[in-house]
Amino acid sequence: MGGNSGKKISLNLKIYRQERKGIKGKMVDYLLTEVSTDMSFLEMLDMLNEKLIKDGEDPVAFDHDCREGICGMCSLMINGEAHGPEKETTTCQLHVRKFRDGQTIVIEPFRAKAFPVLKDLMVDRSALDEIIIAGGFVSLNAGNAPDANATPVPRNNAELAMDAAACVGCGACVASCANASAMLFTSAKISQLALLPQGKVEARKRVLDMVKKMDELGFGNCTNEAECEASCPKGIKITNIARMNREFLTATIAANN
């Protein structure tokens, strides 16, 4: 057992509250005592909400679903870091034992122009869907596919494609980027499909369409700060951005010719 398991601690929470979409919010302080260190971070928020409900106050709204680190629904800036202090860990997989007794924890939503707050810590990330709609797919209709083993894929490419495909679409990369750029997210999908023969056919059109959409949606540019990589709970690498830039360049040259 680690040093901080099986204990009860107190936490000073400073949480961003916004009643509904489109209005101003504010930070509110809550003292939470008797928090078991074995709780997950979200269970700690459940506990706070249970208390707020008892006191007749509005509970804090936050997104979550699988609580296993895979659906990408949970978010939160925890003490200024997307998904909190633990490396390659989503908020739902973070545990209270990573915090000290009496510690102050500032909890804010993922902020970006393209991610409007819906309520409290809940934001609208549908702009990420828009980027995929622009071209993050292979134009294959059901029933059309050849035998799955007809085209072998070099194992290394398959593995790199899988590394990129592991993106959960949580938007931490956007939230932690000073420019609110969605380059890491977009490049992960472009890389995955560019690395596989099935995705090659439409690669050029894809990269042009997706990058254009990304700009339209108000996501910022990449200035190589690499905050995205550091905050990514799935360890998606910025080498994907380099690959996307290469793809983009080739596609632009081809288009101009």
Binding site: D38, L42, G72, T89, Q93, R125, I133, L140
Partner: protein, 640 residues
């Protein structure tokens, strides 16, 4: 009663020809006419997403609803292990026939043969389709697809993408959906929850959905409605399901006349991380593959408080290896779960709560080295440590069974249509293919089979065989359903009691786990049937929901789902009480062999129980669809 209301519409002919014959006899919708039809699909997991993209590709107009903020986040995303198909790439003797056979047997002979055969038949097309979409399945050094083995099969037929197969398959289906959003054929309605089904002239023609960001109720009409809303395992509160997984859509359809089949068939997965305290909000699955190398044991002594490292070899009981020498730790899920419960009930469980057993890799690490084990299971070991703060390389893991999957669901015929005309049900939400126990890696297969390769044909046949009057949401039926939904939410808001929905849900979960869980008996089930209405009464008298209806209100969402679980739970208990045999995941303690194994009663229970709603607080009618086995030889399962 045996029912003439239940016509499974199984096509004529030998089993291997049924589906082809059926397709050939099905009526077709002219390509130019498809654009005149609109389909509502509720749910965007594997079943819903694959149906949405495929129907859109054919030219139908699709409205796709999901609770999460994006279709990509449906619960299917969490599936770890893999997806089965009868490709026989490893050349190890697999075939459509064998996959069919294993699935019927694994389900303990409580599934419909014709459906299962079709599932095995289309399984190979699924893999082709997914690879074509760019799903990065695991490959060998030659660049060809790799397979692994799973429980209940003697061949390697499971395709996988690391420990994230569900994620990759769902993202594939989601990308196909997005392609059709771009083409204008699919409209996504995310953060929407279906709250009522709307019938016009006895046909499913629309839904009422609550917009979860504005709180408004919205009306949608269509020519057919497809429910792909997943399983209802969260009736137990604690399960491996995602937090928003629920049974409301199918339950509300049940209240409108869709029969609910085998509601008590629940799968309890043996390898989950045990409960650590009352704060626990969900349980986490550890992949079944761990049982390939881990050895399961408990102390031979009752109430042994020693640390596992202090319990010498001679005091350890490797009970699965002892009881089932030929299958050992690899017995099917139901058998492994039941035995874990038994040793814990015996007072020999591990950990402070006594509600866990050890899963030990000591011998495997000694045999293969830590690196080999790390390569195979590193991700899982990390996840275990993150959650429990215990290092599984140093000492054994602790595991305990948890509710994982529901084989029961809305009754559907061979066309996947429920007993309501025009209401189709796909994926985990229907009851169709897994009988009383689902084999690992077969749920993903079923969801995608339903969506990519079955519904496109059967829905077309339904459209082409019927005339549809034009309707819109001004129709009276929509107004009535809307009012009903509004009353429901208003009623919840005005209780103004003292307890949260979560708190009451936990109370229900404890009753369900205790009496409708791994071991069930008459007295316990009767107790549950007596207790559940009391909790329901508490709910309707003492619930507290802060906030308002016309805004994001997570508590109100939860309360709506819990209200349905509180009724569905009773149906589950009633079904378990009526099925006085043990089969698959349903273990009736009265029906066991002298060696404590499950004892089926084929003479009396070789049927699907399909329940018909009769009104609030009235006993529903239990109909039977008799199961006949022409192609599979029935036998008592044995793993000794």
């Amino acid at each position: 009663m045996s029912s003439n209301k239940l016509d499974a519409k199984i096509p004529e002919g030998p089993i291997e020809k049924k589906w082809d014959n059926h397709i050939f006899k099905s009526k077709l919708v002219n390509p130019a006419n498809k654009r005149n039809y609109r389909v509502i699909i509720v749910g965007t997991g594997l079943a819903g997403a694959s149906a949405a993209s495929t129907l859109a590709e054919l030219g139908y107009n699709v409205l796709a609803f999901c609770i999460q903020d994006s279709p990509r986040r449906a619960h299917s995303i969490a599936a770890q292990g893999g997806i089965n198909a009868a490709k026989n790439y490893p050349n190890d003797g697999d075939s459509v026939w064998r996959l069919f056979y294993d699935t019927v047997k694994g389900g303990d002979y409580r599934a419909r043969e014709a459906n299962v055969y079709r599932l095995a038949q289309v399984s190979n097309n699924i893999i082709d389709q997914c690879v074509g979409q760019g799903v990065p399945f695991a490959r060998d050094y030659g660049g060809y697809l790799d397979n692994r083995s799973f429980g209940g099969a003697q061949v390697s037929r499971t395709f996988y993408a690391r420990g994230q197969t569900g994620q990759q398959l769902l993202l594939g289906a989601y990308s196909s959906m997005m392609k059709e959003v771009k083409s204008g054929k699919i409209k996504i309605l995310a953060r929407r929850e279906m709250v009522e089904l709307v019938k016009v002239n006895n046909r499913a023609r629309g839904i009422i959905a609550r917009n979860l960001t504005t709180g408004e109720l919205e009306k949608y009409s269509a020519d057919a409605v497809i429910l792909a809303t997943g399983g209802y395992g969260n009736a137990y509160y604690l399960s491996t399901n995602a937090m928003a997984s629920n049974g409301s859509a199918i339950y509300r359809a049940y209240k409108q006349g869709a029969f609910f089949a085998n509601p008590c068939f629940t799968q309890i997965h043996p390898t989950c991380i045990p409960i650590s305290g009352t704060h626990q909000s969900k349980l986490t699955l550890m992949s079944e593959s761990l049982r390939n190398d881990g050895r399961i044991w408990v102390s031979k002594k009752k109430g042994d408080t020693r640390a596992p490292s202090d319990i010498p070899e001679e005091d350890r009981d490797y009970y699965l290896e002892r009881i089932y020498p030929s299958f050992g730790n690899l017995v099917p899920r139901d058998v492994a779960s039941r035995n874990a419960k038994k040793v814990c009930d015996d007072g020999r469980g591990a950990g402070a709560s006594g509600l866990s057993v050890y899963l030990d890799f000591k011998d495997a690490i000694k045999r293969d080295g830590e690196n080999v084990i790390k390569e195979k299971y590193g991700n899982l070991f990390d996840m275990y440590e993150r959650i429990t703060d215990e290092n599984p390389y140093r000492g054994p893991m602790r595991i305990y069974p948890a509710v994982h999957y529901t084989m029961g669901g809305l009754w559907v015929d061979y066309n996947l249509m429920s007993t309501i005309e025009g209401l189709f049900v796909l994926g985990e939400a229907n009851f169709s293919d897994h009988g009383a126990n689902r084999l690992g890696a077969s749920a993903l297969m079923q969801g995608l089979a339903d969506g990519y390769f079955i519904i496109p044909y059967t829905l077309g046949n339904y459209f082409a065989s019927n005339k549809f009057e034009k309707i819109n949401t001004d129709n009276n039926a929509f107004t009535e359903a809307f009012d009903k939904a509004q009353k429901f939410f208003n009623k919840l808001m005005t209780i103004k009691g003292a307890r949260s929905a979560e708190d009451i849900h936990k109370q229900l979960g404890r009753v369900m786990w205790e009496y409708v869980g791994m071991g069930r008996n008459e007295a316990g089930l009767k107790k549950a049937i007596a207790e559940i209405p009391k909790i329901r009464e508490e709910f309707w008298n003492n619930l507290k929901i802060p906030g308002e209806t016309n805004n994001v209100n997570v508590e109100l969402e939860k309360a709506g789902r819990v209200a349905d679980f509180l009724e569905m739970a009773e149906l589950m208990a009633m079904d378990a009480l009526e099925r006085k045999e043990s089969c698959g995941g349903h273990f009736r303690e009265e029906a066991q062999t002298e060696e404590n194994e499950a004892k089926r009663d084929d003479a009396n229970f070789s049927h699907v129980a399909a329940w018909e709603y009769q009104g609030d607080n009235k006993t529903p009618i239990r109909h039977k669809e008799e199961l006949t086995f022409e192609d599979v030889k029935i036998a008592q399962r044995s793993y000794k």
